[in-house]
């Protein structure tokens, strides 16, 4: 190896290259200068490439290519330096070796170029890149535009939401104001009876602040446990029934007396209609009840006065007629009492109507004692209007008096059958009432003439708006048939009174 190096770096008997130039200074320095310039440049080029690749390494693909270039140029520089050296020192073997290395590296560089060329062809040119960038920029601009539109739409939606929110807040504030300022108790509870809402009048009624009742159940709100249980049971029943309920609620006061509330309770329903709680509204009607009671007392008093007046009229008639015309007096007194008896029945029913049976019994019992003996009543339960009741009472009185004088009640055997029925005809239903006398004596022809007959035939027919047939000719006894449209004589349907819940609120002590 040492021999080989010795051989390589020995000049032997070669002549320095200067001899070729005949040591002519101009020729020699022209070559030496040119080689020096080439060598210097060749050494500078790789340094420049190196510094370039160092800075741009990250962005350059195939970074090893410039490195091979640098190496090849550097080695080329080395051969030119060797040219200068060999002008004076004939180390041609070493120079040859250096050229060999340079040649190899140059060849490798060529290979690398050949390898890289097709790939480099694929790299985009700046123009292509520019076009691509333009295209991408346009895409970005489009996307940007879309985003801007989306943002605008979102802003508009947000604005609408803000407006809606504001309106909702206003509506809520209005509701809140209404709930807080109406002079009516309003409260709401959830399914477990926890208080969801109670306005000031409701809180006043409970004697508590909102903080004390919020989310609490009736057990915690009311001092009286039995009252709380009453309220809870009532609420539960209402929620199970899932129906609105009206009631009057009475609270006894500590100092005596009572206050009355009219309450409406309704279930709170979810979207499926199931009861999830209840809402209640209560308004105090103590004053109204007091007036109603006053009115009731007044009506009672009026009824009483009317009866007293009838009694006074009776007394006057007695003083006027009794000694002179006892028969007239008796007839008058009977009719007056018939009127009073009808009045009694109607008073009991508050003049809203009267049961036909009671009207008939009221007339016949004073005449003939107990019903069911010689007088038999039969027919369905029917509520007559006040006007029809009075008319029928007067008619039945006349028939009874007539029977007492001439008919079936004038002997010991006769009977009176009073039967009524509803007949469903093609038009409106009819009421038919039949008065039948049995086992009476033969009726004298003059019987039943006069005011009694008139009253029966005309007044009855007129006030009941029906047809009356009186038959005195039947040998078996007097018969009277009254027929009228049921609708003319029935009492108007009345609304059922409110259920009255004792102490449903109560702080009874």
């Amino acid at each position: 190896m040492a021999d080989w190096f010795g051989w390589l770096f020995s000049a032997d008997n070669f002549m320095p290259h200067g001899h070729c130039f005949l040591w002519q200074p101009a020729t020699l320095w022209l070559n030496v200068g040119s080689d020096a310039l080439i060598a210097g440049s060749y050494f500078a080029i790789p340094v420049t490439i190196y510094s370039f690749t160092r800075k741009k390494r990250a962005g350059i693909r195939y970074a090893w290519v410039p490195t091979t270039f640098a190496a090849f140029i550097f080695l080329c520089g080395g051969t030119h330096l060797m040219e200068i050296w060999s002008v004076w020192n004939p180390l041609y073997r070493a120079a040859g070796a250096l050229k060999l290395v340079t040649g190899l590296v140059s060849f490798a560089t060529l290979l690398s170029l050949l390898w890289i060329l097709p790939r480099a062809m694929l790299l985009k040119t700046p123009l292509q890149l520019e076009a691509e960038v333009r295209e991408r920029t346009q895409d970005l601009l489009d996307i940007n535009e879309q985003l801007r539109a989306q943002i605008a739409a979102r802003d508009a939606a947000q604005q609408r939401l803000r407006v809606a929110e504001q309106e909702r807040a206003q509506a809520n504030a209005l509701l809140q104001t209404i709930v807080e300022s109406v002079p009516v108790s309003i409260y709401a509870k959830d399914r477990e009876g926890r208080m969801l809402l109670a306005n000031p009048p409701a809180l006043k009624l409970m004697g508590r602040s909102w903080a004390e009742v919020k989310g609490r159940t009736d057990r915690e709100v009311w001092e009286d446990p039995s009252h709380a249980e009453t309220v809870i049971l009532n609420d539960r029943r209402l929620m199970e029934a899932n129906d609105t309920e009206e009631s009057e609620e009475v609270v006894s006061l500590d100092g005596g007396g009572e206050r009355v509330w009219f309450s409406i309770k309704a279930p709170l329903r979810d979207a499926n209609g199931a009861a999830v709680g209840l809402v209640g509204v209560s308004i105090e009607i103590t004053e109204r009840k007091r007036l109603e009671e006053g009115l009731r007392l007044m009506v009672d008093e009026l009824n009483h006065r009317v009866k007293n007046s009838l009694a006074t009229v009776q007394a006057i008639a007695m003083r006027t007629l009794r000694g002179v015309h006892p028969d007239l007096y008796d007839a008058f007194q009977g009719r007056l009492r018939a009127l009073a008896a009808a009045h009694d029945v109607l008073t009991r029913e508050r003049w809203l109507g009267a049961d036909l049976y009671e009207v008939a019994a009221g007339q016949l019992a004073p005449v003939a004692g107990a019903i069911g003996g010689r007088i038999k009543l039969s027919g369905p339960s029917l509520r007559l209007s006040a006007k029809a009741s009075v008319a029928l009472a007067m008619g039945l009185h006349e028939l009874a008096i007539n029977a007492l004088k001439y008919g079936a009640l004038s002997n010991d055997l006769g009977e009176v059958l009073i039967h009524w029925e509803v007949i469903h005809s093609a038009q409106s239903p009819l009421l038919r009432l039949t008065w039948t006398e049995l086992h009476g004596p033969e009726v004298p022809p003059q019987a039943g003439m006069g005011f009694g007959t008139q009253l029966i035939e005309r007044i009855l027919a007129r006030d009941l708006r029906g047809v009356v047939r009186l038959d005195f000719t039947d040998l078996s006894g007097i018969r009277c048939i009254i027929e009228t449209a049921l609708a003319h004589v029935l009492a108007p349907a009345q609304s059922a009174p409110f259920p009255r819940l004792a102490s449903a609120w109560g702080t009874a002590t």
């Binding site: 009483h304 009866k307 009694a311 007394a315 007194q333 009977g334 007056l336 009073a340 009694d344 008073t347």
Partner: protein, 120 residues
Amino acid sequence: MTLRGMRVLVVEDDSLICMMIEEFLDDLGCKVAATAAELQDGLAKARTTAIDVAVLDINLDGQLSYPIAVELKGREIPFLFATGYGQSGVPLDFKSAPVLSKPFGMHDLQMALCRATTGS
């Protein structure tokens, strides 16, 4: 049964009606022992007069005649009410006393007096 000779106290504020009742009683053979038109007079007569039975109007010019009924009950003297109010206007304390609803006839008075004095 007969009512003949029975001594009756009549308390009634309407003089026409009072006269009528007196006439009825007369016809029935009773003796009108005393009449009163107002509460205090009625109370006094209920205490002092010798009577067998009393006919009481309930409303005496705005005053109720119940104190007289209490007094009579104390003396174990039977009585009946004659009123425009009807049966419903009478307190439970006097439930056993017959109630005559005005206007009434002589026959009604006779029956009521019998019921009051015999309890049937």
